[in-house]
């Protein structure tokens, strides 16, 4: 077993990994930038090493500094978390060269899945469905038009060198193809200096459904079911859940098998996720491989909640050379889990990220409630890093129980000092389409404006008056002696709302 693990990350994921290490008797080494000297993950680890200045490229993205820290701290393994260096093959290789176990897949698997076009070809070869499309060598108007006709309208024209949706054009019929192609080429040239394009079938109103896979170094690969992440704002996931309400049992099996095939095609080891687009629902649905995330996912607790598996424990065991402790037949889903990402961003101001001090921080508690957080009262939220502060994960016997539980928990989740998206999350959870589980990946981009507008702005006069009094330093009838602590409040009293 790994003895001392360096965690090449920060925030909630660093704390979550430290917790798992404690449980397995693995010593932990935190790393930190100038901005994070007082961050919770630094205080909670057994050892802590300063690795550089606040901007990530000088610290959490600095391979040399992190390897140096691991060697100096006598660590025998490195966990990259998610983001930062987690999917960088050179980092995995640098760990290997330094004699450190990289808690993740082999560098070769990171490389194979890292190339968009290469991965697509590999997946097609492994009989994993990809979105139908063509990349004609002949880039003439006629050849591309013919390719679009073969793929079938509606199609998407995508720049070959592109990314992030730039230069992508939707074409609904053959007559509109010429103008759209010209526009796509202009934008591709302007943004990427390359006007090559390819044609893909447009998947209308898809759901984002991903399959958790796990492989050990003994040739065993399983899938650990799905997560639905269709609630995204500009490709940023906001709410995730499992099971996916649109997935039938047989579709789940087929997607699971495809994800296993994808993992095997690249010699995958450890935790990974295959992302798919799901078109339609039930047994008649179609699914298409998008990409593989070669790391632990932000939303992994959703899978942990419904399966009872601790994925970080499993990562550490598998990285230590142990075989998977279960077979596919031994895995099952129980109940329903929902994760809400708490971002430091202001919905009322176009979701601009917020930075500043956290003056008051109070997490919800209760049956089926889990909070993975990177901050606490007194934390300073920095402009240098991702604005995700924490994740609320709830579990219940049914989707509706979980949804109601999430709402009640968010209504108790007080973060003061900076603005967060909690009020926005509450609106999503109450939206009729979310309640019916009939959302696709375009839902938040279509409905975001009206969701923000529906955030209640009225406050009871008594509450405002209390705030005014507090502000003025005056208090009417302070009888704090009658109540010992907020923890002893009757939950039915404390949950009483003011709306309605």
């Amino acid at each position: 077993m790994i003895k001392r693990l360096l965690i090449a990350n920060r925030g909630e994921i660093a704390r979550r990994i430290i917790r798992a290490c404690r449980e397995l008797d693995v010593e932990t080494v935190a790393v930190y930038s100038d901005a994070d000297a007082k961050a919770p993950h630094v205080g909670e680890a057994d050892h802590a090493v300063h690795i550089g200045a606040a901007p990530a490229r000088f610290s959490y993205l600095n391979i040399d500094a992190i390897i140096e820290a691991a060697v100096a701290a006598h660590a025998d393994a490195v966990h990259p978390g998610y983001g930062f260096l987690s999917e960088r093959a050179p980092f995995a290789r640098a760990c290997e060269t330094a004699g450190l176990i990289f808690v993740g897949p082999p560098a070769s698997a990171l490389e194979k899945m890292g190339s968009k076009i290469g991965a697509r070809a590999l997946m097609a070869g492994a009989k994993v469905p990809v979105v139908p499309g063509e990349t004609p060598v002949d880039q003439s108007n006629d050849a591309l038009q013919a390719a679009a006709a073969r793929v079938g309208f509606p199609v998407l024209i995508k720049p070959a060198a592109g990314g992030g949706g730039i230069g992508m054009k939707t074409v609904r019929d053959a007559a509109a193809f010429g103008d759209a192609l010209a526009a796509a080429r202009r934008e591709a040239t302007a943004s990427f200096g390359n006007d090559s394009v390819y044609v893909e079938r447009l998947i209308e109103q898809p759901r984002h459904v991903e399959i958790q896979v796990f492989a050990d170094s003994h040739g065993n690969t399983v899938h650990i079911f799905e997560r639905e992440c269709s609630a995204q704002r500009r490709h940023q996931k906001v709410i995730e859940e499992s099971p996916c309400p649109a997935l039938s049992g047989s579709m789940r099996q087929r997607m699971g098998a495809a994800a296993i095939a994808a993992a095997k095609a690249v010699g995958y080891v450890n935790a990974g996720t295959c992302e798919f687009l799901l078109e339609g629902s039930g047994d008649s649905a179609h699914f298409y491989f998008l990409e593989m995330n070669t790391r632990l996912q932000v939303e992994h607790p959703v899978t942990e909640s419904v399966t009872g598996i601790d994925l970080v424990h499993l990562q550490l065991r598998v990285a230590s050379g142990e075989p998977l402790p279960f077979t596919q037949a031994g895995l099952s889903q129980r109940g329903h889990a929902i994760e809400c990402r708490i971002y430091a961003e202001d919905p009322a101001q176009g979701f601009i990220p917020q930075a500043g001090p956290i003056l008051l921080y109070s997490e919800p508690r209760g049956p089926g409630i889990r909070v993975d957080s990177g901050v606490q009262a007194g934390s300073d939220v920095s402009v240098h890093y991702d604005p995700m502060l924490a994740k609320l994960i709830v579990h219940g016997s049914t989707r509706e129980v979980a949804r109601r539980r999430a709402i009640m928990a968010l209504r108790e989740y007080a973060i003061l000092g900076i603005r967060t998206n909690i009020s926005f999350l509450l609106q999503i959870l109450e939206h009729p389409q979310f309640v019916k589980a009939s959302i696709d990946t375009g839902f938040l981009d279509r409905e975001g404006g009206s969701l923000v507008a529906s955030i209640p702005r009225e406050l009871p006069a008594a509450v405002l008056a209390a705030v005014q009094q507090h502000r003025a330093g005056a208090r009417t009838s302070v009888t704090s002696s009658t109540i010992s602590s907020p923890g002893t409040q009757d939950p039915f009293e404390t949950l009483r709302g003011w709306r309605g």
């Binding site: 500043g356 001090p357 003056l359 008051l360 109070s362 968010l410 209504r411 108790e412 989740y413 007080a414 973060i415 003061l416 000092g417 603005r419 967060t420 909690i422 009020s423 509450l426 955030i455 209640p456 702005r457 009225e458 406050l459 009871p460 006069a461 008594a462 509450v463 405002l464 008056a465 209390a466 705030v467 005014q468 009094q469 507090h470 502000r471 003025a472 208090r475 009417t476 009838s477 302070v478 009888t479 704090s480 009658t482 109540i483 010992s484 602590s485 907020p486 409040q489 009293e493 404390t494 009483r496 709302g497 003011w498 709306r499």
Partner: protein
């Protein structure tokens, strides 16, 4: 009559008749932050709610608007005497009435607003001498 009672750690139990709310309140450099039922608000620092007449009898006291609001009623006029705690102006903000109380006893020296005015935080509504 609304009451609030400290629960500790920045939490208050606010009651108004048979309604009650658990409210978190904390003072920051940029203002007073509060939380109730998943909603976060802040009263900006520059908009002191009521300039409190600590120095009783020494000079004039201004009564300020705590937040952007509409003047719903003015219960006094120049030359009238008011008592400390007496509601002198009623503002309406966020569809709620917000009574503005006199911070001290005295004579109303000037009224700087009229019914229906939209007032901004920190604006001087009334002066008491």
């Amino acid at each position: 009559v609304a009451e609030s009672r400290a629960l500790g750690n920045g939490w208050w139990l606010v009651t108004d008749g048979d309604k009650r709310w658990r409210v978190a309140i904390v003072e920051g450099e940029d203002g007073t932050w509060f939380f109730v039922d998943g909603q976060v608000g802040r009263i900006d620092a520059e908009s002191a709610p009521i300039s409190r007449g600590r120095a009783k009898g020494r000079g004039d006291t201004s009564v300020m608007a705590p937040m952007p609001a509409t003047v719903a009623a003015i219960n006094t006029s120049v030359g009238q005497s008011v008592n400390e705690g007496e509601t002198v102006i009623v503002l309406e903000a966020m569809k709620m009435e917000l009574p503005i109380k006199s911070p001290r006893s005295g004579i109303v020296k000037a009224v700087h607003c009229a019914k229906g005015d939209l007032v901004q935080p920190g604006v001087n509504l009334l002066e008491i001498e």
